[in-house]
Symmetry: C2
Subunit: 320 residues, 2 copies
């Protein structure tokens, strides 16, 4: 069985947010039940940037995401982050597919936030606030639109042009450019910035708000005033990653928050080991760094759909 080679356009064509949410939720469930395996990422540092190898398995799926971060790429007209996923058969190790992982990453990040919102936001949530209008903002809106009946979307970005572009991309929802404070007055807030100092002030947050803190993914990054975390019910995707690189990393390093202040991880909420929102007045926070089980789940879905379609290019990569 030759190896499928799926380009960025092919993967885009095969991705469907409704299905992505379904498989990502299932992945958290399986992982929480001890059915997956996710060794620590291996970091390779080079002069101009770095690479991460993220190996992972779930029932029926194994693979590795190889992803770079080169912040100067913008001057060359290349994306900062590019990802390739090798999809392997866990039974034999055979490489079933090699595919672009850029949109897989964006979709699974949106899906994880919407899943967290499903369990942690108030069910009647109607307004979505998005802080940061880069690539990840789009899938936050797409994913939340699958789960909630949104009647208002508010957008903030330091760049007028970026905010304008995002707003124009969702004409069905007539999103509005707003100030930070206006965005903060939403039922659900998603922060998707690379900020290294808090953007979201405690005084702006209304009771009952749910916040998806998606931006922080490295030591030193933070988007929320630590006093928000102190009072909120905090759920993480993975406690090891969150405490080292997620929204809670800076408050922990300053002694303002501890690992014991974390209420649960998302898998525990999904599997019902711990209840999600019980108090309509509570402020809830989902701290996401992005975990490889999400990638594996989505890549597995893309692979299945591509095989079923039977029209994508394949290649005798390791045979012969």
């Amino acid at each position: 069985m030759p190896t499928l080679i799926l380009s960025r356009n092919d993967v885009k064509e095969l991705l469907n947010m409704f299905e992505v949410i379904e498989v990502v939720e299932k992945a958290f469930q399986e992982w929480s039940q001890g059915k997956g395996n996710m060794p620590p990422k291996a970091y390779l540092v080079v002069e101009k940037g770095d690479f991460r190898a993220m190996p992972v398995s779930l029932p029926g799926t194994a693979g590795v995401k190889w992803v770079n971060v080169h912040t100067n790429n913008i001057t060359r007209g290349l994306p900062t982050v590019m990802g390739v996923w090798i999809h392997s058969d866990p039974e034999t190790g055979y490489p079933l597919a090699v595919m672009d992982a850029t949109d897989i990453t964006a979709f699974r990040t949106g899906a994880a936030a919407a899943i967290a919102s499903k369990y942690l936001a108030r069910q009647e949530s109607q307004t979505l606030g998005v802080i940061g209008a880069g690539r990840q903002a789009y899938t936050q809106i797409q994913a939340h639109a699958e789960i909630f009946k949104l009647n208002r979307i508010k957008v903030f970005d330091r760049s007028e042009a970026a905010a304008e572009k995002l707003v124009k991309s969702f004409p069905d929802y007539s999103p509005r450019k707003c100030t930070l404070e206006e965005v903060a007055a939403s039922d659900i807030i998603c922060t998707v910035t690379p900020s290294r100092e808090p953007l979201l002030k405690k005084e702006w947050i209304r009771p009952g708000t749910h916040i998806n803190a998606m931006g922080a993914d490295a030591a030193g990054k933070e988007e929320l005033e630590p006093s928000i975390l102190k009072e909120a019910i905090v759920v993480v995707d993975d406690i090891r990653q969150a405490s080292a690189a997620g929204e809670i990393n800076v408050p922990i390093s300053r002694g303002l928050f501890t690992v014991n202040d974390v209420y649960a991880n998302l898998g525990e909420i999904i599997t019902g080991k711990k209840p999600g929102r019980t108090d309509p007045e509570a402020i809830t926070v989902f701290d996401s760094t992005g975990v490889a089980i999400e990638d594996a789940a989505v890549a597995g879905l893309v692979y299945q759909k591509a095989r079923q379609a039977g029209t994508y290019p394949s290649f005798n990569l390791v045979d012969g």
Copy 2:
């Protein structure tokens, strides 16, 4: 610039042992000079086998080898080990190529042994003994034939058929099937078996012999009687890997050998930090576990040759 996709046959076509030896020797040199970067492998264990992600950089090259070991594959007619290499531009992170890594692994392993022999065996060595006639045996012979004027090749394998097949593959050298003891009476001995107990006896080894111990690559594996190591000048490819998984791992765990008994690593010999063979009567041993810088060097060579040829398939993998 689209991503090259190179199949196993393409890679085979582009590999040339003379050039491989050249770039692998250079890679050890650069690595020894602190110019490369090789973080520890990330292991992913699944029910039926395991995977390793091996990220690595050298000047001008970065990438990851994703390789599996599934010992039951033989019952399915699939190789136990299959490898894929993603070749990335260290300047931008762009995936320049995805290629089969099976023959890259075999070639670089043969090259590393021949380079060790070049510095550690007697220059006038003429007889090569090969213990184990599996896939790795072929490149041991090819690589040594590039460096030495071989006038006799002796082969041993428990499987008559495997030994026969190897012998017939090198008609120019008229190799001969021999007993273990006969093979041991060679100027250079290469052991390429998955043995978990010593095959090569101390009493068989003549003064002045060089041994490439290539088989042991996991805890518990060994091919030489520990008393050989005790008396020999021992050189390793990488002391971290060798002490954990190489020929010296079992003797170390039994207290029969220590890390301090290792004379040098191969890079130190190549760069002249420590002399190679000085005594014609000495027994020398190269303990090789296989390091990712070897893969990176060979993959870089294959990539350059494929781009120059301009006739290999490429693909808009991450663009769009």
